[in-house]
């Protein structure tokens, strides 16, 4: 049972993600793709020949390379998503900071007027 290690690894990943979400350290929404990925990992660990069959179906001569391709695609996907989100957040933070600055200025003006009265 060589693939036993991989089954254990996949289960550990799932447990870790679930644990983090359970303790509310990780958001439910963001955990979705990690759970999907670790479930695929588990399936591939239990049925290692499925990757061979898929490779044959896709005319790939060396099946393990398919595994790498899949991994890279997943990582690229997650990475692109993250980078997109970071850009969005950055924009929003700048907008918020500018807004807060303007509000603070207005508040100060109001306070000064109040004191002047």
């Amino acid at each position: 049972m060589k693939n036993m290690y991989f089954i254990i690894l996949a289960i550990l990943v799932i447990l870790y993600v679930v644990h983090e979400v359970r303790k509310k350290k990780f958001s439910i929404k963001e955990s979705f793709w990690w759970i999907i990925a670790s479930l695929i990992m588990l399936i591939l660990a239990i049925f290692p020949y499925s990757i061979d069959r898929l490779a044959k179906f896709l005319n790939i001569a060396y099946p393990p390379s398919l595994l790498f391709v899949l991994c890279i695609i997943f990582l690229l996907f997650i990475n692109f998503r993250n980078s997109k989100k970071i850009a969005e957040h950055q924009e929003k933070i700048i907008e918020l900071a500018q807004h807060v600055a303007i509000l603070e200025n207005e508040l100060e003006d109001l306070r000064r007027k109040e004191r002047g009265k």
Binding site: V18, V21, S27, I28, K29, E95
Partner: protein, 240 residues
């Protein structure tokens, strides 16, 4: 209707065609209550129309989406010490007179949340096919998990008491779609939810936010996944 400050929370996004009628209706039929419109960065004249009607309007700096707009309103209610919040839609589906029913019910019973339901009785509400299936499906899930019958967990027509306002206002992870998942979480946490039948109108202008085919499917998957984790997150309280 003397005891308790009541706030209508109305999230609005591009609702210039409907909002005026909605506000007038509330001012006529429920004049004891305050109204706040959360203008979710509308691109049309929603803000102008709301202010012309003498209603307070909070405008976001960027689009927050429906749920976060609702939470903004609830936070406003929390900060300003309101006793009851009525979540009300800006598209004219909800009827102000029915909102009073919700309010009376929450005052009379010891419920924390009162949901206005279209399906509890046959109120003659014609319902889109997908929505009907979704509602039935999630009602079934709630029944299984919480042993409680909530016929319309997707209804945004709700009345909250102070305890719930406090809880929602302080929730860091207020869900993107606060429907069945939030109902389940609140039930697990021991809050009392009651449902009463209300009438609703059909949407007159504008588009629903649950349109199309891909969106409902995404919504279903998202909701199911979230429910699973909500159960995992609150295991001990559930056993009680």
């Amino acid at each position: 209707m003397k005891n308790g400050k009541v706030l209508f929370v109305i999230p609005a996004y591009n609702e210039e065609e409907n909002i005026e009628k909605v506000l007038k209706e509330i001012q006529n039929d429920a004049n004891f209550a305050d109204v706040i419109v959360i203008n979710d960065c509308s691109k049309d004249n929603t803000k102008k129309i709301v202010e012309q009607n003498g209603v307070k309007c909070i405008t976001g700096i960027f689009n927050l989406k429906y749920a976060m707009a609702v939470q903004t309103g609830i936070k406003y209610a929390y900060v300003n010490n309101y006793d009851y919040v009525i979540q009300f839609d800006a598209d004219g589906q909800h009827i102000a007179k029915e909102a009073i029913k919700l309010l009376e019910e929450i005052k009379r019973s010891d419920s924390d949340i009162v949901i206005g339901s279209r399906y509890l009785k046959d109120t003659g509400y014609p319902c889109p096919f997908f929505r009907k299936i979704g509602t039935k499906f999630f009602a079934g899930i709630i029944q299984i998990i919480c042993k409680k019958k909530i016929a319309d967990p997707l209804s945004g027509f709700q009345c909250l008491n102070k305890k719930v306002i406090e809880r929602y206002a302080q929730m860091g992870n207020y869900p993107e779609f606060p429907d069945a998942n939030l109902v389940i979480e609140m039930l697990i946490l021991g809050y009392k939810i009651k449902e009463i039948p209300v009438k609703m109108r059909l949407r007159e202008n504008g588009e629903s936010m649950h349109g199309g085919i891909i969106k409902p499917i995404k919504y279903m998957i998202n909701m199911l996944y979230t429910i699973v984790f909500i159960i995992i997150q609150n295991p001990r309280k559930r056993a009680r």
